[in-house]
């Protein structure tokens, strides 16, 4: 084996090669495959299933972009990244885009030279407590022991929240989410705090999910979204509008069920522009006219993707909340397709 790997280098050289050159869009088209960075595994957001196919809420964004650019939602090379390797993988060109529940912050956008193209999930830090504690608001948690992941923004948010409400707490530092589950279930802490979507996913794995409540307070803003490298605006536009196409499709009532019917032409000019039967939006992006149709055909519109991966009928069981359309009191607001 020792000698063979040397040749392995030659044989497979360039396999992991990305494309850091000017036109990511051209590179992706030439390669025929989108290199999309995802997490190594997060319930509901990205994980390979028993057959080894990637599934999840973030994965659906990758597939939509691949469908828009290449017309094939399976033409994606999923590159698993950890919290530590994700940004270097994107910056070095190993991946074309990163869809890995990454919070849009100032320093990541400006200092790390990335461009967040939008938000696909509005998250925020929440609290989970056992029902028998009889707590209904986070402000009643004076003197509680709190399990908290060290070295994350959640730790800082927690300190801010308790200080501004003038109540005290005792932190129980833990390293990973898995450890947190065990500590919390073993009663090492009264409260577990992390992103609300993570809390819901964690609670779904409990023996007795009904015995735990997620408190209504959300103490931080965690807008999660896909990002690309700074400076390549053509590519950034493609990813941004692929995501927006999914959101707009839900608002306009385009679903995977009625897609082919609507693609034949409708009364609504905006739907026609989105699906490419009217106007030249695809051409402006450097894509085919039916790019939007392909993106929606990949996994359905935003609402369908949400319901299938993390919605209330799945084990994760998240309500739409902030992630509802603006017409229904949420924050999702796709700019007009015009």
């Amino acid at each position: 084996m020792k000698k063979s790997v040397i040749l392995g280098a030659m044989t497979f050289a360039g396999l992991a090669a990305g494309a850091a050159s000017a036109g990511t869009l051209d590179d992706v088209k030439a390669r025929g495959k989108l290199n999309c960075g995802v997490t190594t595994g997060l319930v509901g957001f990205a994980a390979p299933n028993a057959n080894g196919e990637w599934e999840g809420f973030d994965v659906a964004v990758c597939r939509a972009v691949a469908a828009a650019v290449l017309g094939d939602s399976s033409a994606v090379e999923f590159v698993p990244t950890t919290g530590k390797t994700r940004f270097t993988a994107l910056a070095s060109g190993e991946i074309d885009m990163l869809a890995r529940n990454t919070t849009w912050t100032f320093s990541r956008d400006v200092d790390l030279k990335f461009e967040f193209v939008g938000v696909n999930y509005y998250d925020g830090q929440g609290f989970m407590v056992p029902k028998e504690l009889g707590v209904s608001s986070a402000k009643e948690l004076d003197g509680a022991t709190v399990c908290i992941q060290t070295g994350t923004t959640t730790e800082l948010n927690l300190a801010d929240f308790f200080r501004s409400n003038n109540i005290s707490y005792e932190p129980v530092p833990i390293e990973t989410n898995a450890e947190a589950q065990q500590q919390y279930l073993a009663g090492a802490c009264d409260v577990y705090t992390t992103d609300a979507s993570g809390l819901a996913a964690t609670r779904a794995t409990f023996d007795d999910p009904a015995g735990h409540v997620i408190l209504p307070e959300i103490i931080s803003k965690e807008p999660l979204g896909p990002l690309v490298r700074h400076g390549d605006h053509e590519w950034g536009d493609v990813v941004r509008w692929s995501l927006m196409a999914l959101i707009a499709a839900e608002e306009l009532g385009v679903t995977s069920a009625n897609l082919s019917e609507m693609a034949a032409g409708t009364e609504n000019p905006e739907i026609n522009r989105l699906l490419g039967t009217e106007g030249t939006l695809g051409e402006m992006l450097g894509l085919s006219a039916d790019w939007g149709k392909n993106a929606i055909a990949a996994q359905g519109n935003y609402g369908e993707i949400f319901a299938k991966n993390i919605g209330e009928d799945t084990p994760v069981g998240l309500a739409r909340g902030l992630n509802a359309q603006w017409t229904e009191g949420g924050l999702l607001y796709a700019p007009p397709f015009r």
Binding site: M1, M10, V43, A50, E94
Partner: protein
Amino acid sequence: MSDTHAHSIAFVRETEIPPAPPPAGETGPVKWLRENLFSNAVNSALTIAALLVIYLLLSKTLPWLLNGVWTTSSLAECREVLQGKTGACFSVLTERWNQLLYGFKYPSDQYWRPNLALVLLLFAIAPVLFFDLPRKLLAFTAVYPFLAFWLIWGGTILAPIVALVGFVAGAFVFQTYGKSSFAVGFFGAIAAAFAVWIIGGMLIPDGASDNAMLQAVPSRDLGGFMLNLMLGVTCVSLSLPLGIALALGRQSDMPLIKWICVVFIEFVRGVPLITLLFVASVMLAYFFPPESTVDLFLRVVIMITMFSAAYIAEVIRGGLAALPKGQYEAADSLGLDYPQAMRLIILPQALKISIPGIVNVAVGLFKDTTLVSVISMFDLVGMIRGPILASTEWNGVYWELLGFAALLFFVVCYGISQYSQWLERRLATDHR
């Protein structure tokens, strides 16, 4: 004499009394118990306490093990079957068995290839480990790396053949010129090998791997325990010769070689392995042009090999230092040159002394291969922490999965350690 006393003594016993059975307390299990477990008050107390601990452990784990569920398809179903009783959910092992062993992307109709490579590994490694076997078997060992590469990665068979030819050419040049001058032979061999690789690489047509007999599998698709085994075997077998060379280099009289070795060893030993792995996975991508990076598997192999070679070098240096100076002088007085002295007199003794240390490094290295999970390679631990625990079906199963991983590693590491003990007994030449 008996006649003299025949009338004065009433009875003379002429046969031996049959031996009486020993007292009940001095024989069999009772004696063993008394001597070993209840010899005094303190020991008795400790024995009872130990029994209590064993009982507590078993009363918790046995129902968990024996009640285990093997056939459900998700954790929720497991809990339904168990109805609140204690019991393990081993179904995760049966359902994700292939993922645990091969990763989630290795094509499932090709699993026979790594399996065959593993079986052949046993044949290839046997003549190295057990030197009583006929030496001719080593020929297969020499071919094995190329065969295994072809089996696991697939693609065109020309690639491993060119690699093999390159090594053969190098060895041939070294044999021819190495006798007169080591340096000429050594560098000539390297030049010859590279010449063959470059020319051969050009001769392999583009796209030869597309319709090859074995479907090509990129390194990214390797995973599971297979990846741990591959990394372990590759890195141990590479780092041993490298470690020996470094240890000898550090003792060399030539300042340049000595200092290169010293700096290499001290630098690599002073850096955590995880740092090296991050360099391999993240930093190197910046140094290579985007179109031509080195395969991630190879980068990781290089880093782990460097790391363990530095440790093995220090272990062997300890063995060299333990040899009496008389051994070196004896070799000199026989008129042996440096390679002969090392090969025939010094190294056999030094390596024998170093066996426990080398095995220690090898076992540690094998377990360290799980660290690749932090650079998002899906080895056994990476598979468990990532895809399996992140699936909606199995989120929340910890003991079963990590216990299984521990079991697999224990089997291999215990095997290595037993082999080393056998080796020490076999090589024992002191007449104790």
